[in-house]
Assembly symmetry: C2
Homo-oligomer: 544 residues x 2
Amino acid sequence: MSTGDRKQRILILGGGFAGVYTAMFLEKAMTPAEREQIEVTIVSNENYIVFQPLLPEVISGTIETLHCITPIRRLARRATLYTRQIEEINLLKKTVRLAPEYRPKPITLEFDHLVIGLGTRLNYDLVPGMREHAIPFKYLGDALRLRNEAVGALEEASVETDPAERRKLLTFVIGGGGFSGVECIAELNDFMRNAVKSYPNIDERDVRCVLLQSAERILPELGEDLAAYAHHILEDRGVEIRLNCRLKAVSADGAIVMDKDTKLDETIAARTIVTTVPSAPHPLVTSLPCELDRGRIKVTGNLDVADWPGVWSLGDCAAVPQKDGITSPPTAQHALRQAKTCAHNILATIRGQKLKPFAFTGLGKLASLGHRSAVAEVLGIKMKGIIAWLFWRTIYLSKFPGFDRQIRIGVDWLLDILLPRDITQVRIFQDDAVAQEHFHAGEFIFDQGDFGDKLYSIVRGSVEILKDGESVAVISEGEVFGEIALLEDSPRTAAIRAQTDVDLVSFSRPAFKQIVTHLPGVRPTIEGIMQKHGVDPSVLHSAE
Amino acid sequence: MSTGDRKQRILILGGGFAGVYTAMFLEKAMTPAEREQIEVTIVSNENYIVFQPLLPEVISGTIETLHCITPIRRLARRATLYTRQIEEINLLKKTVRLAPEYRPKPITLEFDHLVIGLGTRLNYDLVPGMREHAIPFKYLGDALRLRNEAVGALEEASVETDPAERRKLLTFVIGGGGFSGVECIAELNDFMRNAVKSYPNIDERDVRCVLLQSAERILPELGEDLAAYAHHILEDRGVEIRLNCRLKAVSADGAIVMDKDTKLDETIAARTIVTTVPSAPHPLVTSLPCELDRGRIKVTGNLDVADWPGVWSLGDCAAVPQKDGITSPPTAQHALRQAKTCAHNILATIRGQKLKPFAFTGLGKLASLGHRSAVAEVLGIKMKGIIAWLFWRTIYLSKFPGFDRQIRIGVDWLLDILLPRDITQVRIFQDDAVAQEHFHAGEFIFDQGDFGDKLYSIVRGSVEILKDGESVAVISEGEVFGEIALLEDSPRTAAIRAQTDVDLVSFSRPAFKQIVTHLPGVRPTIEGIMQKHGVDPSVLHSAE
């Protein structure tokens, strides 16, 4: 393990609890002499760590946006931080390649010890339309986006004259009845029912928050009685819980759900669909040459990877055996203890000391139900209601990384009791210039007379063209529609309905104008399509 | 003015101080009977009002993002709010058409009284490249973006190995030495010099904040001695002030400035260029049939528009004559008093009472210099330093719309003294899929060996293709380059340098892949270009 005069390089991949706490425990455990000899580097997509348990409170505005995150530099002060995407991990050459950022040059880092704490990704592939139309609930940006969607829906509903459209705008469907889904819908429901009071044109009864759970009860992580309590509390506050119900597809018009008992499909018309499940392995992890256990890196009880000396893994991306025989669950409390073990074992390896196995088996489980209520199971003791909620807040506040953030969150919680909640909608999310869309058979992509703002290309499936309610043609894969209304401020001349389930790529009006004007080859083709559709292609000039 | 049994409809355009305070004063002044008879509607792009004077503090994180805005619904509770873009104002038909939002249907509103308070827009047309590469400083989203740019620059600089690139990343150029520019650079400079302490790899001396002012001194709105004091304070804190210096062009590489004395051009290499000047009339205002005065709506002292009964205008978009003969300046304090007059006069018209002319001439002027210093001129009294700063905070806190926000800002200011400033970078701004770019003659668009992430189309001008430093070809308007590296993970095979000033449209890699795959006509054309450039077009298949 000698590196001669060169420093030992410990490279940590991932800016979650696993990675950042490994760096923190390393800094703490190193002697002053070792600090000169050992270099710690972290690579993270963001320059902050997200405290996931408080993410739902960002939706409701109970805590300020930036307060559920802490700058990594403030936690691991001696480590070098690269805020970059990782492109490749090469275990043989002991290098990691980072994607270019501002300058178009990739960076390659070398390591002696590699700590892989990359977590998981959301899996969009199991449910058609999910990638295109559902909002994931995993990162800070997701919570912000969901909050803005909620306020946007209120704004739109308050001036919407069609009652069906209004109800659709005010319907929120959340897939997944585990911790994340329950906490998310609790805060979202609280926020909506509170905010709606500022919208005199909206009837609160039009607000609908639906939780879909494919199992027979919510919160399978907890005992049956606590889950039943949580179920009751949520229903009491107006949440609609659908058990044995699976999200089958998501379209621009709503959620298609299947009742597992009746095997019948139902469409819940909704503008906002949120998904909290399921997770998929990180693609960088599955590309590794080492042994995996259901998509997770197989490690020993010492957190090292067999046959790959110097390679360590922990957190959600690793299959860590606990001393009780089960695999360590993907929670922050486990990641944090694994980080301590990992830091200890890396230093022990460098020092030539004995390694220590991971020995933590969990303290308990907590879920906030919002509105001063929670359920908890801690060291075998079950708690619920306001006691559990106070316990929940105390635990998380004390566990929050960074003293200044603890104060800020404490102040937020105090002000939340005293002041009204915020209903501003900060629309900083651009609409996608080029986007993928999914429609279920029978759904309308647009209606005759609509304002035309997109051009569509069919990737898979077919659509019907309807004029005055009559089907006049069917077009499919590889064909383009919607080009006419894009070029002038005129309404759509026909309606388009999905004949089968269809996947589309849409181009926004501004993007399409740039493409037609500046990419050679596009204009004559589009002119040809217009002639075929019986439109004078000279209108194309108005696109410039 | 009788409308029979129908309600009187007052329609207010614009959600700034002018529009929102008109609605507030109307609500306050109406009798309970009138509240049944008169309908007040506001149309605003956002559902909140921005308190501009505190916007610079969002950059530094002194106050939380959402605290410098207040929900319009909380201020004007009885008014109907449309959060929409306005497409057309028709004074003859007495209608206003709003753009579609979620549903693709426009909305048309009718009015009896129309209040136009649309403000101004930033004028990008005077400086080439400004639209493409400069960050405006006017809206809340701009302040957030600037803050993220500042943290992003620190992150990049901390791992950048080239000293010239590092200095460029850490250079910020702000155009405009008026109130807005001075307050912006004061907060940005404070933030950077404070935040840099968390980046041990960065030398503070590499941080450069440059203020460009085309006049002979900064803050022309204030007396000479206060401006000199502000100049001295800013320089003392490390701000570089360039007087008699005009922003001539902005490119992806920096700011091209012209010294008015020497008439010489100089390029300041900088990643971030901010513009606070100049403002242009709102396009909806210039399209109106009524009389304009240098792009502003000409109104009488009663704030009504001559020859157009029922049409009123105020705020920055109106030329309001003051009793002292000058035109009312574009400040919040003036807009607020105009709103009071406007609300009074609309009700007086409906009631058949006498109108009252606008009689306010201003209380004074304040500019914060950050870091517990300010300059002020109030009722003829001049103040500077910490006294002016405390006065500035007191005045703005008391003037802030909404009591809950006043408390939140007060708490923010208190915590800012006690706790470290935030350095998290919340990257929720997507890169543009299709963007316009500007390069100055001689600048490199990309270098040989760079990572290829964009395809470019030349809109105006010409570029040189360089292989190993030798110019091998010149291409111009209508031609495309950069298509090769897009299709595989290979570096750029040549460098591209602007031969003249060039305007380009760039397509990001993901957008281009969608376009090539799904827009008919593009693939054969690009294949043709590749063949001409000597590249095997079969690599195109890897794009799918």
